[in-house]
Symmetry: D2
Subunit: 380 residues, 4 copies
């Protein structure tokens, strides 16, 4: 029989839903030593958090996150609030001895992230960051193929995260659904929101990025601000491109934007090795493209792998070959792995320290874009 | 506040899991007047059903389906057992005044299905059959586009369901995971299992099939039987092809097989109209291909629609544009629609009568294949 | 140094252009013992054939095909006229000892084709039929993979040829560009025009078809006739579907139509074997899709082969890997192979006898559609 | 009747073949006022140029390009030799009043290119550079859609040219087939060879690039040199990435490499506008991907346009809808347009001046990569 793992959720937005769904589903599909119990949900607005709690079956609500953290019946706190609030909450959780699952990006910048890392390591609490795309089965399979050494020497890594939802210039900034457009809350624009995912996966698949050169752009310079009611300067980056080098000698290039008409959420990645290459994209997330030069030459071509067989990552837990899973399952897998980690003492990644490295790359990206020069990435 | 809808599940196999998942999730995503309560799960083996019940949170178990049906605390019975058991259970449910959700195909043949139809209609109990693919958002969108009249006069309908999992000749037949290979339990092979889905969708999208000509084949003639321990003749069809005509004058062609190497579960459909055409396949179920001759000629081409926007069927309930859902969601949608139907008095389809029409097409298919001649389809 | 091979072309339509292009290009890319010389082009209209001859560099013109055949300076006659004229011309060519390259389908029916076969075999003249798709490199590669035994036991063959250019009901029938809609000139509709290609390739790749059942449809029943100026009954089939069995025990299904909105010339084929499967389509003719179950299971998927490498059929003659060739090249390859055949005494296929087998399948298709019953295919 | 246009070809490699094919074919498909006559082919080796001349039907050979240029029976000189020889030959051609078709990149650098521009403009001779990809019909269609204003404000341009043919470290450098690996002959590596195409198309489709930042890499540092027989340092760039800005405010990112395993010659381009976006790639060159936000929202998706209809660029000259053309046709189109240009006094692009702009971008790319800093592009 599994033991309860009491969850306190702070936030109730898109990610609050995605995580809640994961907590509720994980034990139906995975055999684990713990089962999450939705103990409490917290937000400043009692009305709104009540609706959310009812929808998802949280047992209670709180309107002050400090109260939530003080509760003895909470084992793990899930931080699903705007980026500028992560640090303070996480430090308090660590002090209170709570396990922490924190939304990405971990912090507003590297130094802030480092404090969080130090706090959780000092407190000895389990910690993880919601870079969920690592656990899309096709991406996990990519990692497996790389770890098996199938690719040989790596020459290139490239990744994009392309969206188009902010093209309308009359879209306001700030407030509940739109805090990602408000630099005060988000810290940055597409770099922290989208590039952060690309960087996390890149570091995981291809190792450290050592040096880079970045550019950013804000296409729409002013937007109505929901919190002030006034047209205000837009402080976030709408697009960001950077090129650089990994420690293994490969070149990399990254791009993220919310102005790529036609792409809803096109997160792509590609890695080119001496012997084999891999491609993936989020719009067909259940497939992996794999090319192996060692195939017989006359039948050599990209394999379009429908990642739904029982011997492919996570898929034995779900349906049968040919039946695809989707976006939300990556969160279920992350919860499963988190629980495995606290069960067997081998913490699941990315933990805060891992996510701190992503933060250091982001810091270098934003600094390089500002200074218009190449920068070495601090290696944490 | 929603009211409880007490579910009694008979069976615990692949479909038992898929349905249980749907019951557990539906209220997190849909605002409904009822919420399913997993009251009891039933199977002959107490050990096995106990494991299943624990995994999915059923409150109790039964080992005799008649007991389950007698229970007053059960509102709706879900029949997830081999095809040859559907009828007896459904008739008993109707007699007991229970609502019924029955796996497909509804029955072993048309006459048996008709009795079930008459029973539920006489009893006045809500009833539905799990032809879940109608509620894949892309397929629902296809229906919407057809109903809007975008296609014009229809010339062609074609559909396939291709698998490859039974190619191994040392795969046995019969017993728990393999009853689909045992003609006693399944009634037929790919025709009842796979073609039934193709036919259900075809009737829904393109209206009645009036006449047809079919062929079947059993590639592996003998297999070890798990229930007898002996090598026995295989009674099911391994492959089935038929061609025919719809009442609207269009031609149709269907094929299903478990011997199409490379296709795990490739359910495809295409409809060609005077003005527009539509294609869909299950291996990329979140996409719909749409061609419209009325597009400007120089930019005319198949639209690859990533069905994940809020104005596309069911998608406002899930995540954000670009984030795909998968196979299991079709069952969630079906439960949601079933509950809507019993809430507002407009029963969701396909009900038993609807599924009876599919059964009549299947009867014609099998009879035609046996007689080697064209047959008119009885129109129920 | 290569020797001249004097070509006499009868006809100047679409195929006349495609063949002329092939004759003019072949020696630039292939090292051959003969080089075609465009000696004479022939058609009833002197004006029209003059324009054609000038465009393509024919040295002379004729307005009576009998005159052309009588000329001593003609080695090979290319028959590019409507189907109903093939036989008479071919018989005369054989009698005159000319080599013959005849457009497909070879004849109006099997018996007519048989006479042509007997004539060329008696005369001992080289003969070939323009089933050009065999020599699309990807299709040739498919043949190679099958001949290497990579597929194992074959279960399924399926093929389509889908077009949409006759959907307009005000399109007339008959006359120069539209003789394919006139049953007098064409003999049949899509079956002789499109299905014939599918059948030729199927027999080549998968061996004889032994039995079949077909249906045809004429969606637009009357069209203005260009030759009479009156609205007349349409005698051709607009669509044709048939299913059947190959001698090797595999099932087959074929469909051709000119009413599949969205498909310009979508010729597809697929073959499913125990170990491997192959797919191809004309809209991306430079690619072959190949699935091999013997690939490592975690990287198993359809290989998308860009057929442009030097070790793939014909491709060493063209450009470099990645640079695709197109439709017209299949004719160049056919001329090259024809010349190879007359150089080395191993005639290139399909010759008249080979094409006669396709004709017998077509006869069975049309007879079955008329009689509404299964028919065995005469095996010539 | 068309008049002769006497062509003198210098070189006989891959491009010599591609151009010769274009000269021989153009008048079969295009109605033009001139028809190319293959008057003479020139190379230092009499043996080798003789074989080439025979293969392609050149009337005579020369072994000294100065002799070729002196000949009065030559109207136009085609320069198909390594990059370091372009300038001297072109200057001599201009002095001799010959029209010039020069392979790309035009020159070793901007200043050299400028002298060539000044020479041809002073001499008043027709001149063009073989940036052939502009005339792939799908790319020409992209230009048309952009010129029609369908895209609105442009936000992003991105382009790649990915190959994998030099990954083998034992591939030598220098000499006939491998001068592209020899920095003396080529001037640069992938930047001049591959990126040059990307830049030419980008300037054509999206206007000037004003500023950029580049990086290059040489993965294999030493290779046997065919001309010296010794292992020598490799002077070319194996990979090049740059990011920058167009004058219209859009961001751009470019990448080219010969170390992207799995990509034979994957030239891609994408442009994202406010209203619409376009994608294209060379591995399926007959297709254009087009997304238009103004499509009805429920059927919005990328149009996969099979560019083979008569109303699409150049396609009325070839076959029928659905039948694709390939790589070599882009050269035929370029010859046709060159002849149109000299016929009607509206010179076809890109002429030397146009190609000079590409050279200036390349200069900035190489300088930026060397200096590790942002550079403004000289605007010629």
């Amino acid at each position: 029989m599994s033991k309860p793992l009491n969850v306190g959720m702070i936030g109730y937005g898109f990610m609050g839903r995605a995580h809640s769904n994961a907590y509720r589903r994980v034990n139906n599909f995975f055999d684990l030593k713990y089962h999450p119990v939705l103990k409490a949900a917290c937000a400043r607005s009692a009305d709104q958090i009540k609706v959310f709690a009812d929808q998802w079956g949280y047992e209670s609500i709180e309107t002050d996150w400090r109260k939530l953290i003080e509760r003895k019946d909470i084992d793990v706190v899930d931080i699903c609030v705007p980026n500028n609030l992560h640090s303070e909450i996480a430090l308090a959780c660590a002090a209170a001895g709570k396990m922490i699952l924190c939304e990405k990006p971990l912090a507003m910048n590297g130094p802030e992230a480092l404090k969080m890392v130090e706090a959780v390591e000092k407190a000895g609490v389990a910690n993880m960051v919601w870079y969920n795309y690592r656990r899309v089965p096709a991406v996990s399979l990519a990692k497996q193929l790389i770890d098996e050494g199938r690719l040989g020497r790596i020459f290139h890594y490239r990744s994009q995260f392309l969206q188009d939802w902010t093209i309308k210039s009359d879209l306001p900034q700030g407030g509940n659904g739109l805090w990602r457009l408000d630099v005060e809350a988000a810290g940055s624009g597409v770099s922290g929101d989208l590039l952060a995912h690309c960087i996390d996966t890149a570091l995981w698949l291809n190792g450290p990025i050592t040096t880079l050169n970045a550019m950013t752009e804000t296409f729409v310079k002013e937007r109505m601000h929901n919190l002030t009611g006034k047209v205000e300067k837009v402080g976030i980056d709408d697009a960001c491109i950077f090129m650089g080098r990994h420690a293994n000698g490969s070149l990399c290039v990254f791009e993220s934007t919310r102005y790529a008409r036609g792409h809803k959420a096109l997160y792509t990645l590609e890695i080119n090795g001496e012997n084999a290459s891999i491609q993936w994209d989020l719009h067909d997330l259940h497939r992996l493209q794999y090319f192996d030069y060692r195939d017989d030459s006359i039948i050599r071509g990209w394999h379009s792998i429908h990642v739904s067989d029982g011997d492919q990552p996570y898929m034995s837990k779900w349906w049968v070959p040919g039946l695809q899973i989707g976006y939300e399952h990556s969160f279920v897998h992350q919860v499963a792995d988190f629980i495995e980690g606290i069960s067997n003492g081998k913490p699941a990644m990315p933990d805060f320290r891992d996510a701190y490295h992503t933060q250091l790359v982001l810091d270098a990206v934003l600094a390089s874009a500002k200074k218009h020069e190449w920068l070495d990435v601090q290696q944490g």
